[in-house]
Assembly symmetry: C2
Homo-oligomer: 383 residues x 2
């Protein structure tokens, strides 16, 4: 990357931090047991409930998303409990790994990477496993494959089965429709470094009444991630242990921006950007990795053309155009590249990125017309 | 506090963040799997080793200090293991609580609050308990009572006993002499929001070779705090899960400032500030809560004079002079107040605070001469 150029971060977290949020991060520290912090806590808690569309209590953990996922498991379940982990990629597998670490009896219902969970298969598994699952885990938006699951329908099946529904909505929240209460989700996890436009370091966890009942039974050890301790401190508008105060300042500002725009408007913006980017990518002749019917609003996963190495392409785009894209994760390493359009990213930036992508592809020997992708994206955005 | 006044945060964490560090927190995000992050990681890891005086591997967890304490326990021990928790206050008790949560057999060797651990009593406990402790936990600097333990001597006893030594050095690191390797400490935990002059959100953990051997045997569940996973990622200059990238930027700048001053010079500065503040407090006629022979360099715990309510005094100082002090924790609530002199705090700020303290005391009916404390402190600092 050229030293003087502002780099364009199009990876699925951390996402770019807008200037007012960046400034808030630098505000002078305050004590986390002071009244001032209580006011800050109350403001961000109330704003997060609007983002989650929930009346349930929220916990704000000072850790990244994986810590929130671990808290969801270790607080509601016990060793030996049966868990069904629905997995469509790296992060679906992560829930299964965490539950195994805590000694649960985990069935993994895995689907081909790039596809969403098949509802009929989920229904059949719940009906025929011969088990009463204590919890089902699902990834609303699978970052590794750029797929969004039909969590609303899965939730209905899980409710019928009588299990808790634990949802990783880390890269999904604010990018795509999500209704914690209306869908009946019990524990939902989101993270600061995604559409919330903050640096990493905070995980947001909603806890339903059913989840609270399960917490009383849970026998897993936990201390820093003890949700009951956090909920109790929350009644005093505090956290059980020292919170990442600077990120709370940033969160307050980010949530002001988000609520001013409107939660549904933020989601619609992500949907619109995603549609434009997909139209642009199609115009270059490249193929998507993910099934387009379940394409994510948060990011797009792309197969490089024959003869083009995905990681070399990313490296060229970084060096020549100061664009940072993601490669594949896990078994997709080297197989795909991913463009995030999550958080504080503009049409203009994405237009520039699509043009630069075409330049990069052409430099690597793939015949494409620079401008075609931008033309197609603009047609979506101007419709 | 008056709106236009800069408040003076004299609590033992978060401590004030100096302007260059605050600016670094707002730097544009980078990907945590990018080469750039690897360079950042290597720089801060190397700097932290200098602060810890260790050649051991370091882990940087994105959480506050308590998460680091939990990681120290859950990674080196197993349910049923015998642990001796030496406690001189709230944070010594916290280690015992965490170990109990994980099912260890915990003996608490508690000392009167305000006093340091008695070495003869520690030696006797190790000799006469009839147990081979797997680990001993100790708080190097107990924030709740403003006492520094004789960790070097305790370490020698623990080495002789053949147990692991797990040290909470969260508020001690950079404030007071501490030598991880020379003293033979196995797991040492520090935190960003103390003398490191950063907001909360990072915990630093050093892991000795003995601790690594113990990690292999450990049967406690852990995922986000899995030190083996973090050490493995560390060899690639990455973290296992998304790190608090903004705080890493701040840490880089803070460590540049600290290493430029010199680790021993930073410690000497804290010692000097503490001596001045104690001389000032004495000049007002107030008594210390902590045994002066083991007074902390990081903060000072003070008994309010008869007839003065500690919390009302703090409230008055906050309202009239924009100074934030801490009260008592746990059973000391309402009994004491604490002045921190940790991190980015200057002689001038402490002189102002001592004068304001005298004004506050006088307003609350305690006869004292405004200026006497500053006079005494200045005599120390000008000697």
């Amino acid at each position: 990357m050229k030293e003087f150029e502002q780099h364009l971060l199009l990876i699925p977290g951390p996402t770019p931090v807008p200037p007012p949020v960046a400034r808030a991060l630098s505000k002078p520290m305050i004590g986390h047991r002071a009244l001032e912090f209580g006011e800050l806590y109350a403001a961000v808690e109330s704003a997060l409930k609007q983002a989650f569309k929930t009346q349930s209590d929220m916990v704000i953990l000072s850790c990244s998303g994986t810590g929130g996922m671990e808290a969801a498991i270790s607080n509601t379940l016990s060793p030996g409990d049966s868990v069904l982990a629905i997995s469509v990629g790296v992060f679906g597998d992560r829930f299964a790994k965490i539950a195994k670490v805590y000694g649960m009896d985990v069935d993994v219902l895995a689907f081909e990477w790039g596809r969403a969970a098949d509802l009929a298969a989920v229904a059949e598994k719940l009906r025929t496993s011969g088990k009463q699952y204590k919890a089902v885990t699902v990834t609303h938006n699978e970052t590794s494959t750029a797929v969004t699951n039909e969590t609303k329908a899965i939730a209905a099946l899980v409710r019928e089965h009588g299990a808790l529904l634990i949802v990783d909505c880390i890269s999904g929240m604010l990018c795509t429709d999500f209704e914690t209460d209306a869908w009946g989700c019990d524990v939902v996890v989101a993270g600061s470094q995604k559409a919330f436009m903050l640096p990493p370091g905070l995980a947001f966890v909603s806890v339903s009444e059913r989840a609270k009942e399960a917490m009383v039974q849970s026998k897993c050890p936990k201390f820093y991630f003890d949700l009951a301790a956090m909920l109790e401190s929350g009644t005093k508008r505090q956290t059980a242990y020292t919170p990442a105060v600077g990120l709370f300042f940033g969160l307050e500002t980010a949530m002001e921006l988000i609520l001013k725009e409107g939660v549904d408007a933020v989601i619609a913006r992500h949907k619109r950007l995603a549609e434009g980017v997909r139209a642009g990518v199609k115009a270059t002749g490249l193929k998507f990795f993910m099934d387009e019917a379940h394409a994510s609003n948060a990011l797009t996963a792309i197969l490089p053309p024959d003869g083009v190495d995905a990681d070399k392409l990313r490296s060229l785009l970084s060096r020549k155009h100061s664009i940072v894209l993601s490669g594949g994760q896990g078994k997709l390493k080297g197989q795909i590249f991913r463009i995030s359009h999550m958080g504080a990213v503009s049409e203009r930036e994405l237009l520039g990125a699509l043009c630069a992508l075409e330049m990069g592809l052409r430099e690597m020997g793939y015949a494409c017309d620079v401008g075609a992708a931008a033309h197609a994206a603009a047609n979506v955005w101007m419709a």
